[in-house]
């Protein structure tokens, strides 16, 4: 498929601070791509370089095959929806939406038709003569959207556009945005720090951390197969454990967790003796009162049990005092499926143990010299 946006080894430095540190990114035509990351990770800077408000220190940006790296924003076929909406306060809704077309010197008959269409698209018919100050947050959001979409951009850039809305409205707008995007077929690049938002709307997610893309993939890939601890932690809840590889027969890898717990993972990925970091999603831990037939089950004590509407979040401590968090679907009318202090049995499928990374054991990696602590003990 043709790439609508190509970001090639782009770096952006502000003084001594490197905001974007060598990013490569291809966005396909008609795709909904989300840049997900914590604040200050560089996702907004990356977006602003695509829209033209920032110029990369290094690297280049292509839009539909054309190098736009040095083009000012008004010469690019992209439009942005701003976090603060940035509606022109001196113009009414109609004039706000018509602004872009006027700047492009579109004939006024066409402007009239396209503006009406855009306002209809975001269901704001009847509000044409309102000033932005007379609109609610959600309505402002729609005007901002209509104002950008009416220009028929090749790519629509959205900078945390839903951040200022309340939770209910935000969820409704998520669905609506996604619907709009698939209907119009415009490429969307969406910046957010909200993982739920990213999961609901995106075709692909690029998880950004410290100026770099940690992982990019479809929503399912990134959620099911996080490649780093950061991705696992940031996208969805995760139990991240440090383990030692005990054995690997090619089919099953046995992992020991500080002697507290032994887990199995699909074999063939790790060498015995290595230490590794693994991730287990809370919903993948099955918790039951009765001992399952599976011999891999392990015992744990229930700590806190939190009701979260559709499920319960259960804090567990295994016999070797390893903490885990599990989510248990709500069944029946029990407010608390387990009581604190109760002994339960946990089961984790091999396939649900995700290996994030592995390192050689210390003895291989570093020349064996006794640590300072060991020396002290020897004296």
């Amino acid at each position: 498929m043709e790439h609508m946006v190509e970001v090639r080894s782009v770096r952006k430095r502000f003084g001594n601070f490197v905001a974007v540190d060598g990013v490569d990114l291809n966005v396909c035509a008609g795709e909904f791509l989300t840049l997900l990351g914590p604040s200050g990770c560089g996702k907004t800077t990356l977006l602003r370089m695509i829209s033209g408000f920032e110029t990369p220190t290094q690297g280049s940006i292509f839009l539909a095959g054309r190098d736009v790296t040095r083009l000012p924003p008004y010469r690019r076929d992209v439009n942005q929806v701003f976090q603060s909406y940035a509606l022109f306060p001196h113009l009414n809704v109609w004039k706000n939406v018509a602004f872009g077309l006027r700047m492009k010197r579109v004939p006024s008959a066409t402007i009239k038709q396209r503006v009406e269409q855009a306002i209809g698209l975001v269901s704001l018919a009847g509000f044409e003569h309102r000033k932005p100050s007379e609109l609610s947050g959600g309505q402002k959001q729609r005007v901002a959207l209509a104002r950008a979409l009416v220009c028929e951009p090749k790519v629509l850039l959205l900078d945390e556009p839903l951040a200022a809305l309340d939770a209910k409205l935000r969820r409704a707008m998520q669905v609506e945005l996604k619907r709009l995007q698939s209907r119009l077929g415009i490429t969307f690049i969406f910046v957010t720090h909200d993982q739920d938002e990213a999961l609901v709307m995106s075709d692909r997610i690029a998880v950004v951390n410290a100026g770099k893309i940690e992982q990019i993939g479809t929503v399912g890939e990134v959620y099911r197969q996080p490649k780093t601890r950061f991705v696992a932690d940031f996208l969805g809840a995760a139990n991240v454990l440090s383990v030692q590889v005990l054995s690997d027969d090619g089919i099953v890898t046995r992992l020991g967790c500080n002697g507290a717990l032994t887990l199995s993972a699909p074999g063939g990925q790790l060498e015995p003796g290595y230490s590794a970091t693994i991730c287990i999603r809370p919903e993948k831990i099955r918790v039951s009162r009765s001992r399952p037939s599976d011999d891999c089950a392990f015992e744990a004590t229930v700590g806190e049990c939190l009701f979260r509407g559709s499920n319960h979040q259960v804090q567990l401590t295994t016999t070797g005092s390893q903490s885990l968090v599990a989510t248990v679907p709500c069944q029946g009318e029990n407010d608390r499926p387990f009581t604190a202090g109760e002994k339960v049995f946990c089961q984790i499928e091999d396939d649900d143990v995700i290996v994030l990374d592995s390192t050689k054991p210390r003895s291989i990696e570093a020349p064996s010299s006794p640590s300072s602590q060991e020396r002290q003990e020897a004296q």
Binding site: F53, G100, M103, E134
Partner: protein
């Protein structure tokens, strides 16, 4: 999807109680004593009959106003309007970029830059005007520098003849009133949300159109305040014109001063003052009301 919307933004402003009026009272007293009362006296005097050297007869007459509409005084008014108008335009053209620069500077530097704008206020106004005499004089600093640097084109007189010309008056007027233009525009520029400028660029507006379609309409309140604060005092300017023009150029302010000082025609001076007041009100109406609406409704 569409929710109910309050048509009018809800106002949190309470009507001030007596405590509020108490806080405002000094201002009211000041206005009453030094603005309303003198204006009322002026109004009454303007209908009296002047009896020559400082003498006033309390007979009602419209003669003073009729006299304003004679060519001599209409000419004087017209010249004052032209000088004040030119001063306002020049101040706006010079002041806007300066105000923009200060308003867009990092917040930590804005205070220092504003200080620079206000430094001239620390010296007496007359001293500053006399300083211009030294600078612009035939053998003054400016000519000395230009001659030494051979910067005067041959078509001009050597040395440059600036002092005691309209140019000198304009220099003094613009110099005096520039801060009054910069400060209100700065306030508007500082409040302008930078993402609006980005939005304009994003929607295809180049620098020029971004300025005229977004930046200027949104900073217009500052410009309007600046126009008011420059045009109104500039039109009534006196003394400086006399000093800088060597007495060749008289504006309405000089005329009024002469009528009140040294045994002039007090009622006629009052009528001139009232005419000036009407001119101020018109200026205010144009800059704050109609003009602003026209620009904003773009």
């Amino acid at each position: 999807m569409t929710q109910a919307v309050a048509i009018q933004p809800i106002s949190n402003v309470r009507r001030p109680g007596w405590r509020g009026w108490g806080l405002f009272a000094p201002m009211l007293a000041w206005l009453a004593l030094f603005v309303v009362a003198p204006t009322a006296i002026l109004l009454v005097y303007s209908f009296f009959t002047g009896e020559g050297i400082g003498e006033v007869d309390t007979h009602f007459t419209l003669q003073n106003y009729q006299r304003i509409f004679t060519p001599v005084y209409l000419d004087l008014f017209w010249r004052s309007i032209v000088y004040a108008g030119a001063t306002t335009i020049l101040c706006a053209l010079i002041g806007y970029p300066v105000a923009w620069y200060i308003g867009r500077a990092p917040a930590s530097r804005r205070g220092k830059l504003l200080m620079l704008v206000m430094i001239p206020f620390m010296t007496s106004f007359l001293i500053r005007t006399y300083a211009w005499l030294i600078i612009l004089h035939e053998h003054g600093l400016l000519n000395g520098f230009l001659e030494a640097a051979h910067l005067i084109p041959t078509v001009f007189s050597h040395p440059l003849n600036i002092l005691y010309t309209p140019t000198a008056v304009m220099i003094a007027l613009v110099y005096t009133y520039l801060p009054f233009m910069i400060l209100p525009i700065y306030t508007s520029v500082e409040k302008l949300d930078p993402s609006l400028i980005e939005a304009a660029a994003d929607l295809g507006a180049g620098r020029t159109r971004s300025f005229f379609r977004v930046i200027l309409p949104l900073t217009w309140p500052g410009v309007a305040a600046g126009i008011l604060m420059v045009f109104v005092p500039a039109i009534a300017m006196f003394a400086v014109t006399k000093i800088m023009s060597g007495g060749h150029i008289r504006l309405i302010g000089d005329e009024i001063q002469e009528q009140f000082e040294g045994g002039g025609d007090l009622p006629f001076g009052s009528a001139l003052g009232m005419a000036l007041l009407i001119l101020f009100l018109v200026t205010y109406w144009i800059s704050a009301g109609r003009g602003a609406k026209e620009l904003r409704g773009a």
